[in-house]
C-alpha cells in the first residue's frame, strides 16, 4: 500500500493497471489524455495512440475477444466517433474485461460542446461508473474490469475535467495477475448478423435487469444518513461541492454508478427525507428517471444545466448569502492564443490577407479564429474542414477559387482522409491545407501515425502524406514552409486558381517540441520603425507597441522571422542588427 497525490487520470491509469489491464488503445483528447500517457509508462502492457477513437475501441474489442483485459480512453466527443462499435459491443459482450474511459468537459475548458456522456450509457444499455475524485477513480477503474467480466459487458467509466485534472491523496495496491482468458470461436455471441443479434438483444435486457439488482447494494452507491430534513441525490464531482457546503448536515445518496440506477435505494432514500434535491452537473439524467418513478424532487429548476458546478454555485442555488470579497478591478481579457513562433501563423496570415474563406478543424489552429487574424469561418468536429469544404464548394462552385480547408496532421489522420477521398471521388475543385506540425499539439504533444514515432517515442512506421494524397486521387500536392510568407501566399493563390482539387502541406514542426531548435530573438530598431503596426497584424504574443514603436519581447521571441518579412522599413532585425 502506498498513498500519494495523483490527478484523476493517473488514478484511473493505476486502477486499470492494478486491475490487470493488458492493452490500452486511445486517441488523445482533453481531459482524458493523461490516462493513456500514464499507462504507456508500464512495460507489461500494450499501449498505443490509435488514429481515432473508433479504431481504438475496436482494437480494445479485439483484445478483449482474445481474452485480454483492455481499455481505451477518450474525451466526450471522442465517444461520438466510437459510438458505432460501442452500441453493438453491448450485444456481443466481452471475453477479457473491457473499460471505456470517457471524460466530459463541463464549462468547455477545451471542447466544442458540453454533451453529457451518461446518455450513451442509457442508449447503449451499458453500466457506467462515475468517481468523484482520484481516490475513488483508482478503486472504480480497478473494479470496472472485474465488473465487465462478471456481467459480460463493456463498462463505461465517466469522468469530467475537474476530476481528471484534480489531485488528491490516493491509496494504491498492487497489480493483480490476470491470466489471458481462453479464446474459443463463438459465432452466435460475436457475429452480429441479424439472426444472432436478435438472439443477443434479450440477453442485453436481462443483463440490465441483473445490473439493476446489483446496483441496489453495490459498493459504488452509498447513503450518508444525517436526518430527515433534507436529502440530496448527487453524482461525481457534484458530491464534493455538496459536502463542501453542507458537510455532514444533510442526508446524501451518492451515486457512483449512474447507469443503471438503483430504484429501490432511491425510493427508500426519498421516503425518509422531507425534501429531496437532485444535484448533478449538465443534464437532468438522474432527475428525469427519479421523476419517472413518481418521486417528487427539486433539480434543474434550481441547479444550472449549463457549465461546471462549484460550492458557490450550490450556495447560490439554495439562496445562501454570497461570501464577502474584494471587488476585482477591471483587467483586459487574456484568451489563449497561438504561441510565438507557431508555424500555423504564417499560413493563417496569408489566408487572412487574401480574405480566403476558411473551414477549420479541431486543434491549436482553431486559435487562428481569434483577432487580429480572424482567419476561420467554421469549426465543427474532427475532419469537418475537409468534408465541409467539399459540401460548401458543391453548393457554391465559385468558392472553389476563394475557400480552403485547414486541418492538422493528427486530425487529418483521425478523420480527414475519408473527407479528402470524397473530394477526389465526387470531384469538387477543393483546396485542402494540411497544417503539418508533426505532432498532436493542443492535447500536449502526442505522437500520431504521421510523426514517425509511437507512444513511447520509439521509431515507427510514418505515413507519407504526399503519397497518401496522391493515392487518394489528388494530383496537385505541394509542400510549403509556413515561415516563408511569400511562398504561403503563392501556394494558396496558385492552388485556388487550379482547375482541380489540390493539397498544400504546410510543414514545420511545433516550436514547443523539445528537438526543435529555436532561433535568437529579433529586435526592433526604433530609429527605423515608423509605427505602422503592420507587424501587429500577425497576432504574435512577442510583438507589441510601446510609445508608438513596435517592440519584440526577447523572452518570448524564437526568431521565426515572420514579422521581419512584413516590415516595409527593415526595422526588425536579428541579434547582429
Amino acid at each position: 500500500m502506498m498513498k500519494r497525490l495523483m490527478i484523476g487520470n493517473e488514478a484511473i491509469a493505476m486502477g486499470l493497471y492494478h486491475g490487470g489491464l493488458g492493452l490500452v488503445s486511445s486517441y488523445p483528447g482533453t481531459p482524458s489524455t493523461e490516462i493513456t500517457e500514464f499507462l504507456a509508462k508500464f512495460d507489461d502492457l500494450h499501449s498505443e495512440w490509435a488514429p481515432n477513437e473508433k479504431v481504438a475501441l475496436e482494437t480494445a474489442f479485439g483484445a478483449s475477444l482474445a481474452g485480454l483485459r483492455a481499455a481505451c480512453a477518450m474525451k466526450h466527443v471522442g465517444l461520438n466517433v466510437a459510438a458505432d462499435p460501442l452500441f453493438t459491443m453491448s450485444y456481443t459482450g466481452v471475453n477479457g474485461g473491457l473499460v471505456i474511459c470517457v471524460a466530459d468537459d463541463p464549462a468547455m475548458h477545451s471542447s466544442q460542446n458540453e454533451q453529457d456522456s451518461r446518455h450513451y450509457a442509457i442508449a447503449a444499455k451499458l453500466p457506467m461508473l462515475e468517481p468523484a475524485d482520484s481516490a475513488e477513480a483508482y478503486v472504480f477503474a480497478r473494479e470496472a474490469l472485474a465488473l465487465s467480466e462478471r456481467f459480460d459487458t463493456p463498462v463505461l467509466l465517466r469522468s469530467c475535467t475537474r476530476m481528471a485534472h484534480s489531485q488528491c491523496l490516493v491509496e494504491t495496491g498492487e497489480r493483480g495477475e490476470v491470466p489471458l482468458k481462453a479464446y474459443e470461436k463463438q459465432p452466435r455471441k460475436y457475429i452480429m448478423s441479424p439472426a444472432n443479434a436478435i438472439a443477443r438483444h434479450p440477453l442485453v435486457e436481462q443483463r440490465t435487469q441483473a445490473l439493476r439488482a446489483y446496483a441496489e447494494d453495490c459498493p459504488f452507491n452509498r447513503v450518508e444518513d444525517a436526518g430527515s430534513e433534507i436529502g440530496i441525490i448527487t453524482c461525481g464531482t457534484s458530491y464534493l461541492y455538496v459536502k463542501e457546503v453542507f458537510g455532514d448536515s444533510v442526508s446524501i445518496l451518492k451515486i457512483g454508478m449512474p447507469n443503471p440506477l438503483p430504484e429501490g435505494l432511491i425510493r427508500s432514500f426519498a421516503a425518509k427525507v422531507k425534501r429531496l434535491f437532485i444535484i448533478e452537473e449538465l443534464d437532468p439524467v438522474i432527475e428525469t428517471q427519479v421523476r419517472a418513478m413518481g418521486i417528487p424532487c427539486t433539480g434543474k429548476e434550481l441547479f444550472p444545466i449549463l457549465g461546471e458546478f462549484s460550492q458557490a454555485a450550490i450556495r447560490r442555488a439554495f439562496g445562501m448569502e454570497e461570501l464577502p470579497a474584494p471587488a476585482a478591478p477591471e483587467v483586459p481579457v487574456r484568451p489563449p492564443m497561438m504561441c510565438a513562433g507557431c508555424p500555423h501563423r504564417g499560413m493563417f496570415y496569408a489566408l487572412a490577407k487574401h480574405k480566403i474563406t476558411v473551414l477549420g478543424d479541431i486543434g491549436c489552429y482553431t486559435l487562428g479564429s481569434a483577432p487580429p487574424l480572424n482567419a476561420l469561418d467554421s469549426t465543427l468536429c474532427m475532419g469537418a474542414s475537409v468534408s465541409g469544404l467539399h459540401g460548401f464548394n458543391a453548393a457554391r462552385p465559385e468558392y472553389a477559387k476563394k475557400a480552403v480547408a485547414v486541418i492538422g496532421d493528427s486530425t487529418f489522420m483521425h478523420s480527414g482522409i475519408t473527407g479528402l477521398t470524397n473530394v477526389a471521388y465526387n470531384a469538387t475543385n477543393s483546396t485542402v491545407i494540411i497544417l503539418d506540425n508533426s505532432i498532436t499539439g493542443m492535447t500536449g504533444h502526442q505522437q500520431n501515425p504521421a510523426t514517425g514515432f509511437n507512444i513511447r517515442g520509439e521509431p515507427a512506421s510514418k505515413v507519407d502524406l504526399e503519397a497518401l494524397c496522391h493515392a487518394i486521387g489528388i494530383r496537385r500536392v505541394r509542400v510549403v514552409d509556413p515561415y516563408d510568407l511569400k511562398a504561403c501566399e503563392a501556394a494558396v493563390l496558385e492552388e485556388l486558381a487550379a482547375e482541380e482539387p489540390s493539397v498544400i502541406i504546410s510543414r514545420r514542426p511545433c516550436v514547443l517540441l523539445k528537438d526543435v531548435k529555436r532561433g535568437l530573438p529579433l529586435r526592433v530598431d526604433p530609429d527605423k520603425c515608423r509605427g505602422c503596426r503592420r507587424c501587429m497584424g500577425l497576432g504574435c504574443p512577442a510583438v507589441s507597441m510601446k510609445n508608438g514603436k513596435a517592440r519584440v519581447d526577447a523572452t518570448l521571441c524564437v526568431g521565426c522571422g515572420v514579422c521581419r518579412q512584413l516590415c516595409a522599413f527593415d526595422a526588425i532585425g536579428g541579434e547582429e542588427a
Partner: protein, 191 residues
C-alpha cells in the same frame, strides 16, 4: 479548517510545477490536500489558474468567491483578475512582470499599470516584487515559478529543508541545481 490558495499566471509560466511543489510539501506535512490543475486549450498563452486547498479534510478541489487565503500570481494583472476569490484582507504575492494580453497587443485595450494600488485600497495585503530579475539571476527566466514559491515558502512556517526536499521530488535532477538557486533567491527576497 481548510486553507485555500490559488496559483495564477499566463499559460506556459509553470504554474503546474509550482502547484505540484506545494501539493507535495503539504502532503509531506500530513495535510489532506486537493489540487486542481489546468490542461489543454487554455494553456496556450491564456490566463491559467490552479487551486490548492489543504486542511484536515478537504472536499472541493476548487476555490470560489471570498474563499481564498492567498493568491500567488506570476504576472501583475493576473493577480487582479482573481481578486474576487480572496477573503477580505486576503494576501497576494505577485511578480511585477507585465505580459501583454492579446487585446493590449492589438491596441483594443490598455494595460492597467496601477492595478495593484486598486487591490491595496481594498485592504488586500499585496507583496509585489520582481521575480523575473531574480529568475534571470538564478540562470533562467523559466524559474520565475520557483522564485515565487520561495518567497511564499519563507513566510509559511515550514523549515526550508523540508521545502527543498519537496523540490527534489518534483523537479528532474538535471534542472534541480538552478531551481534550488531560484528557490533560495525567492526565500531571501522576503523582507
Amino acid at each position: 479548517m481548510t486553507t485555500s490558495m490559488m496559483i495564477v499566471g499566463v499559460g506556459g509560466q509553470g504554474s503546474l510545477l509550482a502547484s505540484r511543489l506545494l501539493g507535495t510539501l503539504l502532503t509531506d506535512e500530513g495535510y489532506d490536500v486537493k489540487v486542481s490543475e489546468v490542461h489543454g486549450m487554455s494553456q496556450r498563452g491564456g490566463s491559467v489558474v490552479t487551486y490548492v486547498r489543504f486542511g484536515d479534510r478537504v472536499y472541493s478541489p476548487i476555490v470560489t468567491r471570498g474563499e481564498c487565503d492567498c493568491i500567488i500570481s506570476f504576472e501583475k494583472i493576473e493577480a487582479a483578475r482573481y481578486a474576487a476569490c480572496l477573503k477580505p484582507g486576503g494576501r497576494v504575492i505577485v511578480n511585477t512582470q507585465q505580459i501583454d494580453p492579446m487585446p493590449v497587443i492589438t491596441g483594443a485595450a490598455e494595460y492597467p499599470e496601477d492595478v495593484l494600488d486598486g487591490l491595496r485600497a481594498q485592504g488586500v495585503q499585496v507583496d509585489a516584487f520582481d521575480a523575473l530579475s531574480l529568475a534571470l539571476e538564478a540562470g533562467s527566466p523559466r524559474c520565475v515559478n520557483i522564485v515565487l514559491m520561495g518567497r511564499f515558502a519563507a513566510g509559511f512556517g515550514v523549515e526550508k529543508e523540508r521545502w527543498l526536499a519537496a523540490l527534489e521530488k518534483v523537479i528532474r535532477p538535471r534542472l534541480l541545481p538552478i531551481n534550488r538557486i531560484a528557490f533560495e533567491k525567492g526565500w531571501e527576497a522576503r523582507t
